[in-house]
Amino acid sequence: MARTNLAEAPPGSLPKSAGLRPSRLRPGVVAAAVVVLLLAVAAGLLIGPVHLGPGRVLASLADRLPFVHLRSGLSPTDDAILWELRAPRVVLAGLVGATLAMSGASYQGVFRNPLADPYLLGVAAGAGLGATIAAVYLPAAAAGAVGILPAAAFVGGLVAAMLTYVLGRSGGPARSAGSLILAGVAVASLFTAAQTFLQQAHVQTLRQVYSWILGTLGTASWAQVRLILPYVAVSAFALLLHRRLLDVMGVGEEEARALGINPARVRATIVVAATLGTAAAVSVSGLIGFVGIIVPHTVRLIAGTSYRLIVPLSILYGAAFLILADIVARTAAAPEEIPIGVITALIGAPFFLVVLRSSSRSFR
């Protein structure tokens, strides 16, 4: 550790030793994350069965800027591939990845549990049941790309999370974090059982529901981007505002109260924001697992353990991670697509075990 020479520091200021500076986002750290994200976006736009060429893609991107007119040289078909297939898919993957990562980080902070993930409060099971109900009872409406299935999944996810919250509040003293987690387990089991029951009774919907559950960005469209963007934006805004309070929550309920904050209110706000974003993401992408664990823990390893860094960096790296995972999903077995949830699980499950092993030592 750098030694601090107190004698040289001007009166009343912080000595410029690395150790004395509290965790704050440094421009270099943010710039690195932005570069990674831009590289992922570039790869997502360029990689695919049809070769578009970086120069022409760049020209076409610039042409879309206001007051810039460039001839990209892309054929109308190539232009459609870029703007109607790849670009919305990259943007949607970025939004979903950012949301899952920041929600996972926030849940881990607010529940003080390193293995908490965005589906902790039953959002996944609720969304699954919602999607199944739509597929079973409204099969015609559920077939379209922006059909009723995402809406049903969104509603299902929110209903499950609300049920978890109500049960958790009534279950434990002073709405403790533990009773919420237990309620989440119970609600998830109930909703999964209901979904399985429905599926067994209507096996013709198995394929559709199953492919949604494994997660896919294959039907990505600008309409889907527009659909989830408001929820994701509100969620990100609220979670970013609370990033310092997530650190305060780290000292436990009673100490947080002694420091002048209301832990129950902070937790409620963060849970609502993270759940809203997650439900929106899940409704268009299906259940993509492990993003909310892999990304925040990687950020912890490279940037530090303060949520003031983890939340914003998880947004950037989460977006980059899912864009890259989606490239693998659509190219590894081309022309077939591997469900993206399979890719994230292949990376995530071993990662999860590593976190589990190290968490007994370093996280509490």
């Binding site: 009166p11 030793s17 150790g19 004395l20 002694a258 370093s362 996280f363």
Partner: protein
């Protein structure tokens, strides 16, 4: 470095007729307590006597069934969470420290009542943190993770969080329970120095009667939620009081400087 610690003016603590119950079980029964500005009152009593609950009432952490608590001129009930946190800092019994957090980030948490709810710290917060770290000789450890500190260092970090709050009232709940005798004395001496430097009003709960008698101006013995005895160490630390309220036999010894020492002793010596 000449960073000056903000010196809060001493603040009187007044507890009047306070009763508290947890799920119908009384924990405090019409307790009165007055601590003069800059004074140190130590709460004594067997486990479950109500020491921690009384500290919680001063910190506004429990709701009162009866009575009122005031800090200087203000009633705790009217101050709100942040208002109380600016006046009362506390060193918890078993601090729940986030192990991977760095010392400087941890001490900065003490500034929470001064930082806007959704905002970030300003230069005055950083100055306060730097001054506290320097005062508690933690500057060298500022970048270390809490999990890498020794027991004594960690206890200083916990005290540093409370000091960074710059509150005129300091509550200590068994501040030395986990420390060996050397570190116990160090922490209590440190708190006594800080009390004098910053005219802090200190209320502590302690099990160690000998240490309590040497550091506090006044002792308050709680028993079953009531004040059983209060006053100078000499008047509270009597064989009779301790036998009745702790169920323990002790010998009371006065040293040459007039300090009262309490020695636990067996009822009969074992046969040799």
């Amino acid at each position: 470095m000449n960073a000056v610690l903000e010196t809060p003016a001493g603040l009187a603590v007044r507890v009047r007729g306070v009763s508290v119950a947890y799920d119908g079980v009384p924990a405090l029964r019409s307790v009165d307590l007055t601590v003069a500005p800059g004074g140190w009152v130590c709460l004594l009593g067997a486990n479950g006597a109500g020491k921690t609950t009384l500290l919680h009432t001063i910190g506004g952490l429990v709701s009162l069934a009866e009575g009122d608590v005031s800090l200087g001129e203000s009633a705790v009930a009217s101050l709100g969470r942040r208002g109380v946190a600016r006046l009362v800092a506390r060193v918890p019994q078993r601090p729940d420290v986030p192990p991977a957090m760095t010392v400087v980030d941890y001490v900065l948490l003490g500034r929470t009542p001064h930082i806007p709810y959704l905002g970030v710290e300003g230069p005055s917060d950083l100055r306060a943190v730097a001054a506290v770290l320097e005062r508690l000789e933690l500057t060298e450890l500022a970048g270390r993770r809490l999990e890498t500190l020794s027991g004594g260092e960690l206890q200083r970090a916990v005290v540093a969080v409370a000091l960074a709050q710059e509150a005129p009232v300091l509550l200590l709940d068994e501040p030395t329970a986990a420390l060996d005798v050397g570190h116990q004395l160090q922490v209590l001496e440190l708190i006594d120095e800080l009390r004098r430097e910053r005219s802090l009003t200190v209320v502590s709960a302690m099990h160690d009667l000998a240490l309590a008698g040497q550091f506090a101006d006044e002792l308050v013995l709680l028993s079953d939620g009531r004040v059983a005895a209060a006053g100078s160490p000499r008047s509270v630390l009597t064989q009779d009081n301790i036998e009745r309220h702790y169920g323990a036999t002790v010998r009371i010894v006065e040293d040459g400087d007039g300090r009262v020492l309490v020695l636990p002793s067996r009822r009969r010596s074992s046969p040799r």
